[in-house]
Amino acid sequence: MSLEPQELAELKLNIGRDPTSTELQIVAAEWSEHCSYKSSKKHLKMLPMKGPLVIHEKGYDSGVLDVGNGYVVTAHIESHNHPSAVEPYGGAATGVGGVIRDILSAGTRPIAILNGLRFGNIETDKHARWLFKNAVTGIADYGNCLGVPTIGGEVEFDDCYHNYALVDVAAVGFGKKKNLIKNHATNGDLVVLLGGSTGRDGMGGSQFASDSLESEDRSAVQIPDPFIEKLIIEAILEARKQKLINAMKDLGGGGLSCAVSEIANTLEVGIEMDVDMVHTRESNMHPDEIMISESQERMLIITSKTKLKELQKICKKFRISCSVIGHVKSDNQMHVKKGKKTFANLPTDVIVNATLLDLPSKKPVYLKTIEKEKKLRPIFDYSKIMMNFLAAPNIASKIWVYGQYDHEVGIRTVIKPGHDASVLRLDNGKFLSVKIDGNPKQCYINPREGAIGCFEEACRNVVCTGAKPIGMLDHLQFGNPKDPEIFWTFLESLKGLTDFANHFKIPCIGGKVSLYNETPAGPIKPTPLIGVLGLIDKKPLIPQRISDGDCLVIVGDTKDEMGGSEYFEYIHKFIGGKCPSVNFVESKKNMKVVLKVIQSQLLKSVHDCSKGGLAVAISELCMTNQIGCRILLENVPGEKLDVDRILFSESHSRYLLTLDKKNLKKLETMLKKSKVSFKLIGKFRGKKIQFTKGTKSIIDLRVDIAQKTWLNSLKDLVLHG
């Protein structure tokens, strides 16, 4: 893997000579898609990044939000798709490690991890099952060891990920605003590499991640060591407390090449370094290898000469290695030496500024006919269908996954995984609600509406806990951008997200683009993943137990939007139809009123209605509360629809409100006043989930039997096939 011919020509032109081999390696790493965002950068600027709570500082790898009372929350999202597809345990684990260090580099303590996992069809494909199982263990072993709770996420299976894996990890940090690292450097400051040793793992990982997955290049996958990461976290937070860090950067994609050149360029200084000073895992490593190794658990710190002793003392306490590898100069050059011999000497702005591309785009041909529905086979027994559905990998409870993650450590987790969004308590008496959502099935059918849908769904989830969305993270995952049809889907998704962010005034505080997600079988479906952070000033809505006689009210219309639904794809094996679209006005109105009624404390719980539609959302309420419910489908607001559409449409902006009967009048008055579409659709009682239309019984299931299937089917599938 190296530079494209025209890139090489540009480099030569820029520096006026032939580059050395080390220079070529450095530039190839930094100009890779993974590090330079060369295909996407021009367009990413459209996303709104500013907001009243957003704090912008030089050189942060994570977004920073001011949550009041002198505290900040940091957040970032990353993926480790290529490595995880080859070596799921190490790939997923090091994905966690990388994003945690992004949080740490702002000087904040990581307090939560979320992950989004996507694999092929685990019902039929043993390899997908193996990838899934090991990615989960990798995340568990890493996060659990760090003592950072994994508080939520999502898991999805789709044929488009056959022989592949998407492993997305988001992390949240928390700290005092005054303790944020204010990155700065002056002439003569020392450049220190701290943490794990540099070895021959993760060689050229960023270039590996910038191409289609064709070879199983295991040497490009990094080896995880959560114990060292934990020691680094504690050592760095102690060093920060003693104000020993002038500037800091995590070593991620591109290793030392990217970390050194980027920090120097951001701080407008030069850095001269000696590869002989880098502590290595093996002897005889060539300077090129040292510069591009992506060995994990390493941090780059710039400190003053006078502070070095104290920093070394801390490293000694935690027994982590720290090497002074160079010093800061005023010449804006990245100068790499081995002893006295120069191996690279380049202007930092040349290294970090890859020529941005303006790739052509073209609406994919398949979209012309995708919305057309085929005639479905008639369903006679919805109860039977529903039981199959509850066992479907995408619908079944993910308790087998989150039960392996320590989601309690740190004692902040107020709302635990298994609900809509997870909620953490903060030290200032406020609460942070976090959720990530993706929906490749809908994004495939309509990249714009699908992406907006993911964004709205994540917002809905935090709203269900009583939180107001304050920031968004986006992770845009697509195939080869040089295919104009794929690039079109990327642009459409991005435009959709931008429109929603602008309309709802939710700034994008961080993100990531992952392209070239392809296998020889083809590209993945467009998979934007959206994380939303919400803030609760007073009290979150912690779901209370539903009891006999409680009411079920739905807010929002159910529409004929079956495209990309689990029902179409899992039950009918049909990809197509019109996918749900978000009406911004309706969405905003519903969000606002739900937050208002939560504040008025009329409700027992609010549940989001999404994957699997109304039928699944209500069943989930029944199963988690072990109580029956009778639902009158004719009462469900929206246009007049056939039974299967009411049950399984995945229309957005819908919320299920549960409440004590005595609060019903008050609730109805509030909802009426705000002019949202709503209706009382059911009552909780007994031990059966019963959907009826008129006098006709549509679904009739015993809660205990349904619950058993829903809770156990994923585990059974993974363990026993």
Binding site: N144, F227, K230, D406, V409, R425
Partner: protein
């Protein structure tokens, strides 16, 4: 009333324990790094959970050789209350202060879930405020949490009243559903579940009062309250 919280490289529940001790129960708590020694005037010692040395070789086995363990052993002999939670329990077992071993869970997976305990011995410094057979809703989070002893040792444990907590149901396949034990004298207690995660109502979805009694028992033992 001084409580020492021992911190090993890789401990990760030390801060949670410290918060509960100081902010919830008003103990005078201090962290002690594993290479330091414990002061003579300390009144109780807690070994918190985590992954000391990354659980390498076997959970707790390396930390059991930390310099501070010699002091913990001395304190144990003096009858000072010592509590090991999760990895702290594993360390106490590995250092020989408590009988038995902790094996990989029957599921072979890390397990994080809420369980129920039954108090089987209410004479220890950490259980003296419980009624015998009281129930405690409390979370576990471990990979190597399956307590195991052979049949003879189990008989001895029963005879000497060394079983402190049992799960109400089979959770991880531990011998006799044991979740926590004590030494013969009763002053050294180890438990796999995390009481520090259960004493605040905000994060306890069931009932925070029972697990609070673990810390209140210590307060009573130390003569702070009656």
């Amino acid at each position: 009333m001084k409580v020492g919280v021992v911190v090993f490289p890789g401990s990760n529940c030390d801060r949670d324990m410290y918060h509960v001790l100081t902010d919830v129960f008003n103990f005078d708590a201090q962290y002690y790094w594993h290479e330091k020694s414990l002061p003579k005037n300390i009144d109780a010692v807690i070994l918190p959970g985590g992954f000391s040395y990354g659980d390498r070789l076997r959970a707790g086995v390396i930390a059991a050789h930390s310099p501070i363990i010699k002091d913990v052993q001395k304190m144990a002999e003096k009858g000072i209350p010592i509590l090991g939670v999760c990895n702290g329990f594993q360390i106490l077992v590995e250092s020989g202060l408590l009988p038995g071993v902790l094996l990989k869970n029957e599921s072979l997976n890390f397990m994080c879930k809420w369980t129920n305990l039954i108090v089987e011995n209410n004479k220890t410094p950490f259980t003296n405020q419980f009624k015998l057979h009281a129930k405690i809703p409390i979370p576990i989070a471990n990979g190597e949490g399956r307590y195991f002893v052979d049949d003879d040792t189990l008989k001895q444990l029963k005879k000497k009243n060394q079983i402190v907590f049992r799960y109400t149901q089979v959770v991880n396949g531990s011998s006799n559903r044991i979740a926590g034990v004590c030494n013969e004298e009763g002053n050294v207690v180890g438990m796999m579940p995390h009481p520090e995660r259960a004493v605040e109502s905000e994060i306890n979805p069931v009932d925070n009062k029972p697990s609070s009694l673990i810390f209140e028992s210590l307060l009573v033992k130390m003569g702070v309250t009656n």
